[in-house]
């Protein structure tokens, strides 16, 4: 029970692998923004690098004008610290000729949890010094200020404020080489509030509050495409290389990808939810995706897809298609077997076939063990590398009665516009019929007028009814395409004037 208790409250400081016994500021960054990002505070105090002015190095701190002797006007403030006993040290001098009085005053500031966002309590003064004779440029003085007993070695956190005070004139106070004994205890990742212990139950370095898998050390984060809450739609014409009727309902698949990564930001698995909604084409089309640039040996296994035991696809031991340069997953091998027959869910009034969702999982790292080809960094698996395609059919050449039989043709890949084929595509079909693919020019799966055989709508798509060209159902589709997407970017939406609902399924 005790062991369980200890395990369950495993507390680590996940953000900070080391702390310093001193908190120092020497101004040599020359950029207060960097210090401010590290939770130092400045008011009317800038860095000066004017030759002859800095006390040491290339930069020093210079106070601004000091109105009315207020200690609140010009100051330097440390990050939150666990202050230890010892001396606060720094160097300072006056930097001008005019002024009535000039001084330095030190404060400690307690933490006040009821005072967001800074959480600072009332400053308490514990040291002050006044220059005896302002009006001259004084030599550098070395300040040595004992840490007050009230805060030394306390378990509570404090800030130290060094205020620059005075009245009259323009003489600034130049200061440098600040050393504050104690430990840096601010958290720049959390608005510079004090560090707080975080729970990390699986010890992977990701706090439970951020960890999508707080009890699994092999998984940490979920990323999504198109997004966590929105599925996109892929809509294809399947008569390539011939043009079809542009109703874009021959194969309609909704998709949502979830990429799971670990604390090292390597891909653990990809979960794809693919929903087949329509089979307006009369071919038994296949559907899949290639992961451009990722070799098949980077994937341990694939499951959840729908491949018949009698199939034209050759599937390897890890569930990917064989003979491929890049990892290729066949999601289903026969649209009609999965959803229904020709013109499935594309004619109003006809029988409806319930949508079919396939949840496909590609495992890259299995229980902490990568595939033989090694890990894939999360930065490599961007949405752009998912290259979706369908596989069509070819006429046998026979005529039986009124029917021209067809057969599934693995080489007849039909990709979205501009996407490269897989290794199993029949490239001899390029440039035939209406296709104007020119690999040497980087042109793929477009007609001579650059029309596509597939569209990808990230926001989801209500497809046209059978044999209705998409521009008759979506009234601004042509303007969108003619403008390269700048006009009517929401042409697919149900905004007034966008649609002819009688032509949408």
């Amino acid at each position: 029970m005790k062991k369980l208790f200890l395990l369950s409250v495993l507390i680590t400081l996940v953000s900070f692998s080391e702390s310093m016994a001193q908190v120092t500021l020497n101004c040599e960054s020359g950029n207060r923004a960097i210090e401010q990002g590290n939770c130092w505070g400045f008011a009317q105090a800038t860095y000066t690098g004017t030759p002859g002015v800095p006390i040491t190095g290339s930069w020093s701190l210079q106070s601004g004008s000091i109105p009315g002797n207020s200690p609140d006007a010009s100051w330097l403030k440390t990050p939150w610290m666990l202050v230890s006993s010892g001396n606060i040290t720094f160097n300072a001098r006056l930097g001008g000729l005019t002024g009535t009085t000039r001084g330095i005053e030190l404060f400690y500031i307690p933490y006040d949890g009821n005072n967001p966002p800074a959480y600072e309590g009332t400053p308490v003064s514990f040291y002050s010094y006044n220059w005896p004779a302002p009006g001259i440029i004084t030599p550098v003085m070395a300040f040595v200020v004992p840490v007050p007993g009230a805060i030394a070695n306390s378990a509570a956190v404090y800030k130290i404020r060094v205020s620059f005070t005075g009245e009259g004139g323009l003489a600034p106070i130049i200061s440098d080489d600040f050393v504050f004994p104690g430990l840096y205890w601010s958290d720049p990742a959390n608005g510079c509030i004090p560090q707080a212990p975080v729970q990390d139950s699986d010890g992977d370095g990701v706090a439970n509050t951020d960890d999508a898998y707080p009890n699994d050390p092999n998984k940490a984060y979920n990323s999504y495409f198109p997004s966590a809450t929105q599925a996109g739609t892929l809509a294809f014409e399947d008569l390539w290389p011939a043009k079809g009727d542009y109703d874009f309902n021959d194969v309609v698949v909704d998709y949502k990808l979830q990429t799971v990564t670990n604390a090292a930001n390597n891909v653990v698995e990809v979960n794809g939810a693919f929903t087949l909604r329509a089979t307006g084409g009369c071919f038994n089309d296949g559907f899949g995706f290639q992961i451009d640039g990722i070799t098949p040996d980077k994937i341990c296994s694939v499951n959840g897809n729908s491949i018949s035991h009698v199939t034209i696809y050759s599937i390897g031991p890890n569930g990917l298609e064989t003979g491929q340069t890049y990892a290729t997953c066949i999601v289903f091998d026969d649209s009609h077997r999965v959803l229904g027959l020709c013109q499935g869910n594309t004619e109003k009034g006809a029988a409806f076939s319930p949508y079919v969702t396939l949840n496909v999982r590609l495992v890259f790292i299995n229980n902490g063990i990568p595939a033989p080809g090694g890990v894939v960094a999360g930065s490599q698996l961007t949405p752009a590398v998912f290259n979706f395609f369908i596989v069509g059919e070819t006429l046998t050449g026979q005529v039986i009665g009124n029917v021209q039989p067809t057969f599934q043709d693995r080489g007849k890949e039909i990709h979205l516009a501009g996407r490269v084929p897989t290794s199993r595509a029949n490239t001899a079909l390029f440039g035939t019929r209406d296709d104007d693919t020119r690999p040497g020019e980087g042109k793929y799966y477009k007609t001579a007028n650059n029309l596509p055989w597939g569209v990808n709508i990230l926001q989801g798509f209500d497809y046209p009814i059978e044999k209705t060209p998409v521009n008759e159902a979506y009234l601004h589709f042509i303007e969108w395409a003619a403008s390269s997407g700048t006009a009517y970017p929401d042409w697919y939406s149900n905004a007034p004037g966008n649609r002819d609902p009688s032509k949408i399924y």
Binding site: V23, A189, G205, P469
Partner: protein, 132 residues
Amino acid sequence: MKTLKLFFLFSAIAMVLASGCKKSELTTPVSLPKTLKELKAADSFNWTTGMAVELQITGLPTLVPVKSTLTVNLANGTTLFSKLHQMDENAIINLTVPTTEKELTLRYGSVTYLVAITNNKAFFSFIPVVTD
């Protein structure tokens, strides 16, 4: 003779005015194609409602190593991407977002930032802007 001189004068003026016309003032508006058959799209158009966005992150030199979760969301808060990120490191994150999106929200630790998308790029720096 006087009439002839006036004729030549008016002709010269007319010629000067006509030569000053720019081509664009004389062309007729281009009409949109009515059918897909007539449509010719640009070579670079790829028929998707998404756009590639490169998010460039500039790190902040820190006094001690600082690691926390960086999350990128659409402006409406929908999650796109998460990773463990060390605050002093630069990073480039490649996303695909709807073309209608104008900004992203970033969350690092407990702080949220709004980042504009301009020409398919978004920039975020952990180095703050000093205000005084």
